[in-house]
């Protein structure tokens, strides 16, 4: 039994490490080092619009079908991408809110976040020019 457990751990570890590789990132000047999962959800659901310093929040995401978006949704926010999309759709089509800006690639995401004040999004670990926010 113990061997099986070790074997399972060995097999599963690389997968779980890979899924942990996506990080929430922001514009370098934002000055926020960590957010609770609850607050991160409110931000990415477009329910919170303003940072504590008064700047408008600008949310960037990749397409719903991209692997990075799925990993981010699942592991950083703890919700399915389709549930996020449902919330955004309700705001968009009822005129009660805006939706995140969708960018085509991770490179574009990094470029947009590093050049937009108040920007937040996500990226694979190890990207420079953006600031990593820890999700607690």
């Amino acid at each position: 039994m113990r061997q099986i457990t070790w074997l399972l751990l060995l097999v599963l570890t690389p997968i779980s490490l890979a899924s942990q590789a996506v990080e929430v990132v922001s514009h370098p000047d934002l000055g926020i080092d960590s957010l609770s999962k609850h607050k991160a959800r409110n931000i990415f659901s477009m329910r919170t619009h303003i940072w504590p310093n008064g700047d408008p929040i600008k949310v960037f995401v990749l397409n719903d079908d991209s692997d990075l978006h799925k990993q981010f949704s699942k592991h950083r926010l703890g919700i399915f991408p389709y549930k996020l999309r449902r919330v955004w759709d309700r705001y968009l089509f009822s005129g009660t809110g805006q939706v995140p800006t969708t960018v085509a690639s991770e490179e574009e995401m990094i470029k947009a976040i590093s050049s937009t004040k108040g920007a937040i999004g996500y990226a694979n670990k190890g990207n420079v020019n953006v600031h990593i926010i820890e999700i607690r």
Partner: protein, 401 residues
């Protein structure tokens, strides 16, 4: 107040005008980074064994007379100020074939704190009623090809779409979940022809003038998003202004709607139910229409299951009674001389939804229906030829950007 001509619908604009309005709106705003444009196109196909829905669905080959096209745009020039506009073109058989400004508003968040937001929206605002009314023309927000017709009736659709006026809103974030309160006050769309026929039993020469109305919704959502509960309320009063040689007198009508909504997800399985109780009052409409106060009732129970990211199945039972004390329509039949099954409808539905990616959606549904109270009069001008038991197959293709 209400001086419009029978044919002139204040809310409708030609599609060309809509494009020009959208272009003027968007032109100078492209420069701002909060500028967004999104839209959708939706095409339906309806084939029925009897009776017409969204066009001549009773014909041999069915009908493609159901199209919805929308485009919206929004901008946030200040952190607490947002402008948004949406234009929608809708072709639904003989019921609708027009473009309209669906919403056009200024949204001012007066207070944004960590745990609550309070603000006002001014302009043309969508009416919150149940889970779906404020996005009812957008296929991607509907659980099925068409919404349960008991609560989201085609006959009163135009009336409930939007208010020209204001909305107060309060969103709070509490340890148990989120609460959203919206209260609308404003002018509703005038001259709802379908409603007039439903009430008076024919298209009378006069018209219904709607007084400024109030409606509101309080919604709760648990922190996980798995539980949603809502209560909606609307109070609408109108006068009937008789036309030349009218047999209907200048009377008063009022409608009070209460909608209770609940949704619960269990993993990939979601159950949704809504219940409508509608108190109607009709007075002083002349000798042919004795004053009455019937209560209408509608409800549905729906469950959907996500097989995977692309495939979803749905089943639903939807029931609707024009008068809850006359569920079989016997009294209705005696009073109007029309068949009793015009007074109710019971719809069993099963369907599938395929979403190959974020932009496209294909749906198919089959309905077995007893009763015709949900059908539009525009598509079914001869009430006496309506059939009690009918089946409906419907397909839909939708694209969004």
């Amino acid at each position: 107040m209400c001086i419009l001509l029978k044919s002139a619908k204040f809310y409708q604009v030609p599609p060309q005008a809509l494009v020009i309005i959208m272009a003027i709106w968007t032109g100078p705003l492209f420069a701002l980074d909060s500028f967004q444009v999104h839209g959708f196109i939706n095409q339906g196909y309806f084939l029925s064994s009897d009776n017409n829905m969204y066009g001549n669905s009773d014909s041999k080959n069915g009908t493609l007379d159901f199209t919805e096209i929308g485009i919206n745009s929004s901008i946030r020039p200040l952190s607490n100020l947002r402008l948004a506009i949406q234009g929608v073109y809708r072709h639904a058989g003989q019921t609708n074939n027009d473009a309209r400004i669906d919403y056009a508003l200024v949204d001012w968040t007066a207070i944004e704190k960590e745990n609550y937001q309070l603000g006002f929206r001014l302009g043309r605002i969508k009416n919150p009623l149940g889970f779906y009314n404020d996005t009812r023309d957008v296929a991607f927000t509907r659980p099925s090809i068409f919404l349960p017709q008991g609560i989201y009736q085609e006959r009163s659709r135009d009336l409930f779409l939007s208010s020209d006026g204001g909305q107060f809103y309060l969103n709070t974030d509490t340890p148990i979940g989120k609460f959203f309160l919206q209260i609308n006050a404003g002018k509703l769309e005038d001259d709802p022809e379908e409603l007039e026929i439903a009430i008076l039993n024919f298209n009378a020469p006069g018209h219904l003038c709607i007084k400024p109305a109030y409606m509101g919704k309080l919604e709760f959502e648990s922190n996980s998003g798995a539980t949603r509960l809502a209560f909606s309320y609307a109070d609408i009063d109108m006068d009937y202004k008789p036309g030349a040689g009218d047999i209907v007198a200048a009377g008063d009508l009022s409608f009070e709607l209460l909608v209770f909504s609940a949704q619960q997800s269990f993993g990939q399985f979601t159950v949704t139910a809504e219940y409508l109780r509608q108190h109607n009052t009709f007075k002083n409409l002349g000798p042919r229409y004795p004053g009455s106060k019937p209560t209408s009732e509608s409800y549905y129970l729906q469950s959907d299951y996500r097989f995977n990211n692309q495939l979803q199945g749905i089943i639903r039972y939807d029931a609707s009674y024009l008068n809850k004390d006359d569920r079989k329509g016997e009294l209705y039949s005696t009073l109007t001389g029309s068949p009793n099954y015009l007074a109710y409808s019971k719809d069993y539905m099963a369907g599938m939804r395929w979403t190959p990616n974020n932009s496209w959606m294909v749906q198919a549904e089959y309905h077995r229906i007893d009763g015709v109270s949900s059908l539009s009069f525009a598509d079914n001008s001869d009430k006496m030829s309506l059939k009690q038991h009918w089946n409906l197959l419907t397909l839909q293709l939708s694209y969004r950007f």
